[in-house]
């Protein structure tokens, strides 16, 4: 397994199903398809790309690119959206719980130990970044944290 170092550019529509979305403000540059979390210092309704190192639960998936201080639509609980695999060689199997990663906005399979900030469930295989059909994979957004002592 080799991790990508930067979030890829989405080539497909992010929202797959549902209409539970809301408008937030970007605390920093955000790319379409990135998992986002609420920013504790950025002001009300402000989001930034989710990163597992921040220990903050992601709330949803960005619909489009946004510049710092710009507004963006975030797809929330119950919707299905495209998300992007941190791994550039190995797909994530359908049915896997997905969590944030050390690369902003990407997903990986949960279950690596420690507290997991699960953002949803893969509804199909999430292709590896190097895959020829790479364009992200469908995830049902249902965030929750798993506390593993």
């Amino acid at each position: 397994m080799t991790d990508i170092t930067a979030f890829p550019t989405a080539t497909k529509r992010i929202l797959v199903h549902g209409d539970n979305s809301y408008t937030f403000t970007a605390a920093e540059t955000i790319k379409a398809g990135q998992l986002v979390s609420i920013n504790s210092t950025g002001g009300d309704f402000t989001v930034y790309p989710a990163n597992s190192g921040d220990s903050v639960l992601p709330i949803g998936v960005a619909d489009a690119n946004a510049a710092t201080s710009g507004t963006l639509t975030v797809h929330l609980y119950g919707t299905v959206a495209k998300v992007f695999n941190i791994d550039d060689t190995t797909a994530i199997e359908a049915g896997t719980a997905l969590e944030s990663t050390t690369v902003d906005g990407c997903v990986q399979a949960a279950g690596g130990g420690g507290t997991e900030y699960v953002v949803g469930i893969a509804l199909e295989d999430i292709p590896a970044t190097s895959s020829s059909d790479y364009g992200g994979g469908n995830m049902l957004i249902c965030p929750h944290a798993n506390m593993i002592a």
Binding site: D19, N20, S37, D44, P143, I148
Partner: protein
């Protein structure tokens, strides 16, 4: 830290536009008097499809937030997972920071929330803005049982 002694009054609870999002709400009976904005849990002692004020001491799962007040035996509409609602801070002296996970408060003031810290509990959702001491704030409702393994 002093807790509030009575649940505050608020008339507008639902933030998300019901005409835009296909919001998850349902109407059930309440087993006791509830006020608008109270977090609700299932009330098995009062019969099927009955809810009551959420209380961490009950160890019962959260179902959502009351959109209106109702007296015992009458219907109440509940905003469920995926909605954005105003919730009340149980603490009369300490604000809850945005991005905090929220959980049910104890029996002192049923239906209010406190910041989740650690251990098992019933999470209500995520604060989308700071929630002032004794005040109201908007939260993304995403109930789940926090299990520590």
């Amino acid at each position: 830290m002093a807790d509030i002694t009575a649940f505050p009054t608020r008339h507008t609870i639902l933030v998300t536009d019901p005409e835009v999002a296909n919001l998850q709400t349902f109407t059930v009976a309440t087993g006791e008097t509830v006020k608008a904005g109270m977090v609700l849990e299932i009330d098995p002692s009062s019969g099927d499809n009955t809810v009551k004020c959420g209380d961490s001491d009950d160890a019962a799962p959260v179902v959502g937030v009351a959109l209106y007040g109702a007296t015992a035996g009458n219907p109440v509409t509940v905003a469920c997972a995926g909605t954005i609602c105003y919730v009340a801070n149980e603490s009369g002296s300490a604000a809850i920071g945005e991005s905090s996970l929220l959980q049910l408060a104890d029996v002192n003031v049923g239906g209010a929330v406190v910041a989740y810290t650690s251990g098992a509990g019933y999470v209500v959702g995520v604060a989308l803005e700071d929630i002032a001491a004794g005040g109201w704030g908007r939260a993304l409702i995403m109930p789940y049982e926090q299990v520590v393994s």
